[in-house]
């Protein structure tokens, strides 16, 4: 039977939440990944060393395996150099949210005043802390990411030694940026490789496919597929897996987020196989991220096999993407 072995797969953008939800989702990520970049948008957001340490401990307590590294992040604010020096061995990135653009981003950046941000971004640049960015404006939903490109340009030009990750990119405009600025990189989710707005709102309305940034047009998905399938050295996998309880997704005001953590590797095998690109999957789900972030996860091997896997209807209170559907790849074992 056809198999696919992935070594040290990494999810470079994941929401593990806290409390009961953390207990549900952390083991699902720690099972099949060697490490993951953990988003800091808790309530309140992670902004101090104590909060980083505390959150990391809670994650480690919730994991079911000890061969998993939660790469920690801070929620972007203007931090002093001395604080960043103190915290730098405990985080690998700082996540910047424009204010109000997604779940728990209210405390984010309201305006991109380069001078006000200079001390923080220069210190990050000097200390090798990566800037991870949710790149959306508050404009019309289909334009938000493309409109944000000017902010990426400004950041890339003003801080040429700062590594900047365009998180969960969804447009051809963002793909184009990868080759225009040496210090711009990107994560791509598995769902944005699969869906467009048509899947969310073209037939029935599908709350479990509703996410931010919203899925865009077919030509955008094609552009994402092209760089993912070829494992462009500046892109890496980040699931943006974001659990919400079923009752809040299926309600009159549903929050944004697609839950893919336990099925991401299986889905990626399907997509890469269907496009004759399985050979590039290792780079997309691990090697590129190791290179970009300069991280060396402990050895772990995930063996996938071409064997049907029926996605559960629920994981705890959370409905995963494609619940109840059958995937053609499953995880056989993790060594």
């Amino acid at each position: 039977m056809k198999t696919m072995t992935l070594t040290m797969p990494l999810d470079m953008h994941v929401h593990l939440r806290d409390g009961e939800m953390l207990e549900t989702v952390a083991p699902l990520t720690s099972y099949s990944f060697s490490g993951a970049l953990v988003m800091p948008n808790l309530v309140p957001p992670v902004t101090t060393l104590d909060m980083v340490r505390g959150y990391k401990k809670r994650i480690q307590a919730a994991m079911e395996s000890d061969d998993f590294e939660p790469y920690m992040t801070l929620f972007y604010q203007n931090y002093s150099r001395s604080f960043l020096e103190e915290v730098k061995d405990h985080i690998i990135a700082i996540k910047l949210y424009p204010s109000g653009v997604t779940t728990n981003s209210e405390g984010g950046v309201a305006s991109f005043d380069i001078e006000a941000m200079r001390e923080t971004l220069e210190a990050m640049s000097d200390l090798g802390i990566i800037l991870s960015v949710h790149g959306e404006t508050n404009g019309f939903v289909m334009d938000r990411e493309a409109e944000f490109m000017s902010v990426y340009e400004m950041l890339a030009v003003h801080f040429p030694k700062l590594k900047i990750i365009m998180e969960h990119i969804t447009t051809r405009e963002a793909v184009k940026m990868l080759d225009q600025y040496e210090n711009l990189y990107a994560t791509i989710t598995v769902h944005h490789l699969m869906i467009t707005l048509d899947d969310v709102a073209g037939g029935m309305l599908r709350p479990h496919l509703f996410c931010k940034p919203i899925a865009k047009r077919p030509h955008d998905r094609e552009a994402l597929l092209k760089v993912a399938l070829s494992a462009h050295p500046k892109v890496m996998f980040g699931s943006d897996s974001a659990p919400h309880p079923k009752h809040t997704k299926e309600s009159c005001g549903c929050g944004a987020g697609v839950f893919t953590a336990p099925i991401a590797l299986q889905l990626l095998c399907e997509i890469f196989e269907a496009n004759d690109s399985l050979d590039n999957l290792q780079a997309f789900v691990s090697d590129n991220a190791q290179q970009i972030y300069g991280i060396c996860p402990d050895f772990k091997e995930v063996v996938l096999v071409k064997h049907d896997f029926v996605i559960p209807e629920m994981y705890g209170s959370v409905v995963p993407m494609r619940a109840g559907e059958t995937l053609t790849w499953s995880i056989e074992r993790v060594d």
Copy 2:
């Protein structure tokens, strides 16, 4: 207190459904409107004279007032001239659905073969039966209406004496068509005067604002407002009020439709007043439709007053648009 009197208001596009749902919604429309064009997309669709008669009787039985005229329609198929002659005194329009574009449209037109449609459309043209069209392709959700303009053009050119209604238009492309072909007209809903895709999916996902055609961009809404507020003689009000039970709207696959029947006139007063256009509302909600359709409803007067009205959370099993919110206009009496 400020009042607004509307005489013979008409809703030229409404879904009254059947059975229990008909019992819920028919009285809400018959209370505040003199008449309404009733959509034929039941299951199975209304395609025979017996079905028209039967459905009209059920509507009349469900109404709570007898001063309301249900203007009946057939579901478009290629009908013979003799059938159309037989049915013409019982309907005023035939509604054409491209196959699969919206609720219960599966039996619609799969391809626009003018020659195959010629007998039907020429007979309709000769007999003064109006062609009412759901104008969407099966393309990308944001492009479906604009892509359909070439079909409208083809129909308008081939059947110059046929009155064609572009139903529930949502784009500036459709607005532009009004002045390009003498025989093209349009209905506009109240929700498309109020919302864009941002309201549906820009913040939280709002299933009760999910409709087909989906709400578009700000510039599209502006174009609709412009012709509605000025009561362009070729546009008329059609609510496209489309009830779905709450549990099906708030689920993992929610159907398209916004329910506005009982609040449409109040909302229109708000919108027209806010844009200093109250003087044009009578034409938009009645006079234009009388002219276009050549109909003369019985006398009815709806008096609205500038007085707060809290929209109920539910009407039967249906959640209306803006449930629980307060409108500044209410219906004082109907004479």
